[in-house]
């Protein structure tokens, strides 16, 4: 009897309109399977029934992020924060967007706010660690990159200090790319550390047009951009050669800094 009753009632139950909570629940399950479009339809339906639902707006924000739509995602996260100023997931979402927009300070501020209220928030802590991994240090020596012999096909060369500061770039017009590369190297280093794999040593990043070959240690990161068609072995050989040459130039630059810095003993007193 207890088994048959729900079966008899089910057609009647299924005819009723789903509640916003049911719609959001189903949307969340679809989102968890990567079915973002279908999930977004259900969230819209749910929000039309309950426009003030924090759950609905948060889900809408997640789905915008998942579909790489930054502007509406930011609006939805802000909507949530206007009602709950310390909502940890909304703060984390805004922090990610700030980072994508290049606003590192805004990202850090949102993460710190979230962690102040919820200290046990592993994702926020991991991102904050990723930002902190490359803290500005003393001004680095600037090596003479113009003396390095680049491969004929090379499109750019970057030398970054251990703190992520761009200390040299060729051509100079590639400066913005250097900044982004520094941040990506910082997050790659943080991800490797969190996965228990150790400090970043090498990297290969391929996009549609170029391949970027990286070498790194705690003091220096060097990145060489070559055409996408470059064979990986060739790219690694080139970056290794330039790594050795850049280390030499950096040592020369450090010596020059030491020689030009007046010591206490030579300072004149008038």
């Amino acid at each position: 009897m207890s088994v048959t009753l729900p079966r008899l009632w089910w057609p009647a139950l299924s005819r009723r309109e789903p509640t916003p909570a049911e719609l959001f629940g189903h949307a969340d399950r679809l989102r968890r399977a990567g079915r973002y479009g279908e999930a977004a339809q259900l969230v819209l339906q749910g929000l039309s029934l309950d426009p003030a639902s924090v759950t609905g707006h948060l889900l809408a924000a997640y789905l915008h992020v998942a579909r790489r739509k930054t502007v509406p995602a930011k609006q939805e996260f802000r909507w949530v924060l206007e009602r709950d100023a310390s909502h940890p997931r909304a703060l984390l979402g805004l922090a990610r967007i700030a980072l994508e927009e290049g606003d590192v300070d805004g990202c850090r501020e949102s993460l710190v706010r979230a962690l102040r209220v919820y200290p046990d928030f592993p994702e926020a802590q991991a991102l904050l660690d990723g930002l902190a991994a490359r803290r500005p240090a003393t001004a680095p020596a600037r090596p003479r990159l113009d003396r390095l012999r680049l491969p004929a096909a090379a499109r750019a060369l970057f030398v970054l200090a251990g703190d992520g500061a761009v200390i040299a770039v060729r051509p100079e017009s590639a400066g913005e790319a250097g900044g982004r590369l520094a941040r990506a190297a910082g997050f790659a280093a943080a991800t490797l550390q969190r996965a228990g794999l150790g400090p970043l040593r090498r990297g290969i990043v391929a996009d549609a047009d170029d391949t970027h070959f990286l070498r790194a240690d705690v003091t220096l990161t060097l990145a060489l951009t070559l055409p996408r068609s470059t064979h990986i072995t060739q790219g690694l050989l080139e970056v290794n050669r330039l790594w050795a040459a850049a280390q030499h130039e950096l040592a020369v630059a450090r010596e020059e800094v030491v020689e030009t810095t007046p010591s206490v003993g030579t300072r004149r007193v008038s």
């Binding site: 968890r32 992020v65 994508e100 990506a184 943080a190 969190r194 400090p199 040593r201 990043v205 990986i232």
Partner: protein, 141 residues
């Protein structure tokens, strides 16, 4: 030794199974310690990783790294970000962009890079073909 986590445990759809199969398949490639599929917001869609790896922080950082590479490539007019690998003393992290998120593999230090890149490309291809927008039905006049 390993944990399997699938976001859509209640959904028996072919896409849900595909996601699980793709991640399990990648994790079985020789030299791969673990694999994840992470949404761009850092949500773990599916994962098979050793218990020693803290999934959430790794997923959060991998998604941030993936988005940073995507946004950077687009903003600098270099065309879409496709794949990346970052190696360390004790292993290598592989990352590839797909329609629904980032495919991540954690590999042994001596793993065959080409084999894992091939596995990653197959995984992305399987996801992208399954998630491709529906083609409008052809009309005849």
């Amino acid at each position: 030794m390993s944990r399997l986590r699938l976001g859509l445990e209640m959904d028996g759809s072919s896409r849900g199974r595909l996601v699980r199969d793709v991640v399990q398949g990648l994790a079985r490639v020789v030299g791969v310690r673990g694999a994840l599929l992470v949404a761009p917001d850092g949500f773990i869609i599916a994962a098979e990783v050793p218990a020693s790896v803290a999934m959430e922080p790794v997923a959060a950082l991998a998604a941030t790294l993936g988005r940073d590479l995507e946004v950077g490539a687009t903003r600098l007019g270099r065309g879409a970000f496709q794949t990346a690998l970052f190696s360390a003393d004790d292993g290598t992290l592989f990352l590839a962009a797909s329609r629904i998120g980032f495919v991540v593999a954690l590999a042994e230090p001596q793993a065959n890079v080409q084999a894992i890149r091939g596995g990653l490309e197959e995984a992305v291809s399987a996801i992208d073909s399954s998630w491709a927008p529906a083609t409008p039905a052809a009309t005849t006049t």
